[in-house]
């Protein structure tokens, strides 16, 4: 078998500046998706009041329109009775997704968090009226794509700092290298 130094077709596509710009643009767009949607998750009530709204109302749909029985049980018996804590956790998770995907820092980690958060949302609202199930499938897929392409390495902080992280003997730096 002969070996050549010619880049594989897949590598040559990523090497193209236009492809790297597109990957960065998708990463930033996904960050803006999360950023816009953390805007209506307002502490400290998060919509839990005499007239339920916002995050609280969407979360109750997991019980009203069940998707997956164990998740429905969890929401009904754990999440809703402790909604203030849950609201803060959701706001921090989605806000961090927005923040770190925007600048491309530890991008592969946050891409996986994005998959998890999308699944949690889907398990709450997938069977609710007027929901388009492909919205959530597409969200999962785009986060998987950000993970697969290590999107923070293109015009992101990961791309600047990763070489140093990989050279470093510091365990934190090496972990960041793996998460980027």
């Amino acid at each position: 078998m002969t070996m050549t130094n010619v880049a594989s077709p897949a590598e040559s596509v990523i090497a193209a500046r236009s492809s790297r710009l597109l990957i960065a643009a998708v990463r930033v767009a996904v960050a803006l998706l999360w950023m816009q949607n953390v805007g209506w998750k307002t502490p400290p009530q998060f919509g839990n009041g005499s007239r339920p709204s916002g995050l609280y109302q969407f979360t109750t749909w997991a019980v009203e329109y069940p998707v997956f029985a164990p998740y429905t049980w969890l929401v009904e018996h754990v999440v809703l009775p402790n909604f203030a804590v849950f609201g803060w956790l959701v706001m921090l998770a989605e806000g961090s997704l927005a923040a770190f995907l925007l600048v491309g820092l530890a991008t592969r980690l946050w891409a996986l968090v994005g998959v998890g958060q999308t699944l949690a949302i889907a398990l709450s609202v997938l069977n609710a009226p007027h929901e388009w199930h492909w919205s959530y499938f597409l969200m999962v897929l785009v986060h998987l794509l950000l993970f697969a392409t290590a999107a923070g390495r293109y015009y992101g902080v990961d791309g600047v700092l990763r070489p140093g992280w990989q050279r470093s003997a510091n365990p934190v730096a090496r972990t960041l290298g793996r998460l980027s």
Binding site: Q36, T42, M91, A98
Partner: protein, 116 residues
């Protein structure tokens, strides 16, 4: 652009420019409100953005780290303002996380080892 800039300095400059550009969203509406900007937050974004640009242009990592820390502090103040229902800044949590992103980026590139 300063030809001798290190990649981390260029990143700090880019993050500063992003903060300056974010002020355009003071006039956004409808589906384009990715984050909120108000007359109270525009000066913060402009001043911190300019400082980040200077940190990158002049190659001053300590200034980038300081600017990043102030961005994160400003984000905490925004969240507190919203959570307490004060509404003094006239923005929602999306602005806080924009600043967490810019602040974290500046902290990371400012504290990175340099090839001096």
């Amino acid at each position: 652009m300063n030809a001798s800039m290190q990649p981390a300095d260029r990143a700090a400059l880019a993050l500063g420019v992003a903060s300056l550009v974010s002020t355009v969203f003071v006039i956004s509406g409808g589906i384009w409100v990715f984050f909120t900007m108000s007359p109270a937050t525009v000066p913060i974004a402009l001043v911190l953005g300019l400082i980040a640009c200077l940190a990158g242009w002049l190659g001053r990592p300590a200034l980038a780290v300081s600017c990043g820390a102030v961005f994160v502090l400003a984000a905490i103040i925004v969240v507190a303002d919203v959570a307490l229902g004060a509404g003094l800044l006239g923005v929602n949590p999306s602005t806080a996380f924009l600043w967490v992103g810019l602040g974290s980026g500046l902290l990371a590139v400012g504290s990175a080892p340099r090839d001096d």
